[in-house]
């Protein structure tokens, strides 16, 4: 009977112990299941990232055997899992990865350097042809089985390299073209002027030394020759100035264009102090542009305004800023002889004039120069005018 009682108590204890152990086991089993679930989740997460990444990825073990491959690797190199997984990297695709420099880099990753970046590899790939690849590698350390792995990322930069080479080629062609242009401008500067000087000089010599042998018509012809040569000289000078505008380097900075206009106006008035003219210049206008080129543009615009108000008693020349279709536009307005709007599109062409040289001197290059300068600043230039009432020239920068 004592055994029975002992056994009963013991049984109850044992039962309780068993229950506790079962509960523990159930708990750890649940935990294990949860852990497994976490692992599954993490894995699915990582795999979906790897699968989405465009760059082909390889995971190699320390012996450089392929363990994992991203989907994009198969797509890019057009190979199958059977050909890739489990193989040594050097055995892949007809030994196309078996390159001494790459070997050196890869073999150091697990132990020594642990990574390399931007290794450029140019190769004639079997399935792809001639390509340039950019390789990046990192060591990954797996705690669970204490293994060292290599993550290898491959980027096809063939197109990028081609674009870079194209840019270099075009840049050097541009350089070449600019040099030719400079040489041309230089020879024009020198070679064309000399014969002109001869024509002018000897025509005058003719006039001076033989004037008693020439009748009025003869003298008139010679005057026309000298007049024409002088005009041609001015044309050459203006053409050269225009070409310099295109050739020169632009340096953008903050420019007080009001101050610029004021100083140009002062200089203009000094040349003909007897003329009555009012310059109305807006204050404090600051722009971003090349100071020298802007000066040339303003000299041309204000100079024109001055010239074409030459016949007006009291000239009025205004410089300011206004709004045009939502953007800021600067303007130079005068109350001079104006122009017919029908010819507005001819205004900015080189050597285009709307008045004869008798009425107003000039070669017709001023506005073409202004247009080129404004265009180099990325702006637009246009004009409004009325015959006898004046003209306004607008520009944006």
């Amino acid at each position: 009977m004592r055994d029975e009682r002992k056994t009963k108590n013991e049984l109850i204890k044992e039962l309780a112990q068993l229950r506790r152990r079962i509960a523990k086991l159930e708990k750890s089993d649940a935990e294990r299941k949860r852990a497994e679930q976490l692992v599954q989740d993490a894995r699915a997460y990582a795999e979906s990232i790897v699968a989405t990444v465009r760059e082909p990825l390889l995971v190699l073990d320390a012996d450089l055997k392929v363990i994992s491959v991203s989907r994009s690797f198969y797509q890019t190199f057009k190979v199958t899992p059977e050909e890739t997984e489990g193989h040594n990297i050097y055995d892949l695709g007809n030994r196309q990865w078996d390159i001494p420099k790459l070997r050196e880099l890869l073999e150091n990753v697990p132990s020594k350097n642990t990574f390399f970046d931007d290794y450029e590899m140019e190769h004639d790939f079997e399935t792809l042809g001639q390509k340039t690849m950019l390789l990046n590698a990192r060591r990954i350390y797996r705690e669970t089985n204490k293994t060292r792995l290599i993550l290898l990322a491959i980027e096809d930069i063939t197109e990028r390299k081609r674009a870079e080479q194209d840019i270099k080629k075009y840049a050097s062609q541009l350089e070449e073209a600019n040099k030719e242009l400079e040489a041309f401008a230089y020879s024009v500067s020198h070679d064309l002027r000399a014969p002109l000087r001869g024509i002018d000089g000897f025509s005058r010599a003719l006039l001076e030394n033989y004037h008693d042998k020439l009748n009025d018509r003869g003298k008139d012809y010679i005057h026309r020759v000298t007049g024409a040569t002088r005009r041609m000289g001015r044309l050459i000078d203006d053409l050269l100035k225009l070409s310099r505008i295109t050739r020169s380097e632009m340096k953008r900075e903050s420019v007080d264009i009001s101050q610029l206009a004021r100083s140009i106006a002062t200089d203009i008035k000094k040349e003909q102090p007897e003329r009555q003219a009012d310059f109305i210049i807006a204050e404090g206008l600051i722009v971003n542009g090349d100071a020298r080129l802007l000066q040339v543009a303003m000299e041309n615009l204000l100079g024109n305004a001055w010239k074409f108000t030459g016949k007006i008693q009291t000239a009025s020349i205004e410089f300011g800023i206004t709004e045009h279709e939502g953007e800021k536009a600067y303007f130079v307005r005068d109350n001079g002889v104006g122009f017919n709007m029908a010819y507005a599109d001819k205004l900015f062409g080189a050597f285009q004039r709307l008045h004869s040289t008798h009425e107003f001197p000039g070669t017709g290059i001023g506005l073409a120069t202004v247009a080129r300068i404004i265009r180099r600043h990325g702006g637009r230039v246009w004009a409004k005018g009325e015959v006898g009432k004046g003209a306004t020239f607008y520009f944006t920068l």
Partner: protein, 146 residues
Amino acid sequence: MEDKVILLVEDNPDDVDLTLRALEKNNIVNNVVVTNDGAEALDYLFATGEYEGRDVTDLPEVVLLNLKLPKIDGLEVLRRIRADERTELLPVVILTSSDEEKDMINGYKLGANSYVRKPVDFNLFSEAVSQLGLYWLLLNEPPPKK
């Protein structure tokens, strides 16, 4: 003033005639030595080649130097003038068609005393030549003879 020599270095025969005519018109009747290229100019100055035997110490009052010259160009002539002890102080006026900035900069850098652009208009050209003549022959003090 008559014994002062002007050395004109000019390859264009028209320009030579026009320059001489301009000087003449303005009563500058000095002895103008004309050399038609850079090599000849240096031969004259250093008494070599066809000018062997000339007295080197007898330097011109001023050199009117063109830039684009056959054989040896103007800037090189200027360089050699400035490089030689005998001629380093010799007044040199660059007289050229070119108004290219780099020519001006190089000219001044190499030690030109003056830079004058040849105008197309003969009246202006004649005026320029006469002013040059009067300035360099009359007003300017030449370097003392060694």
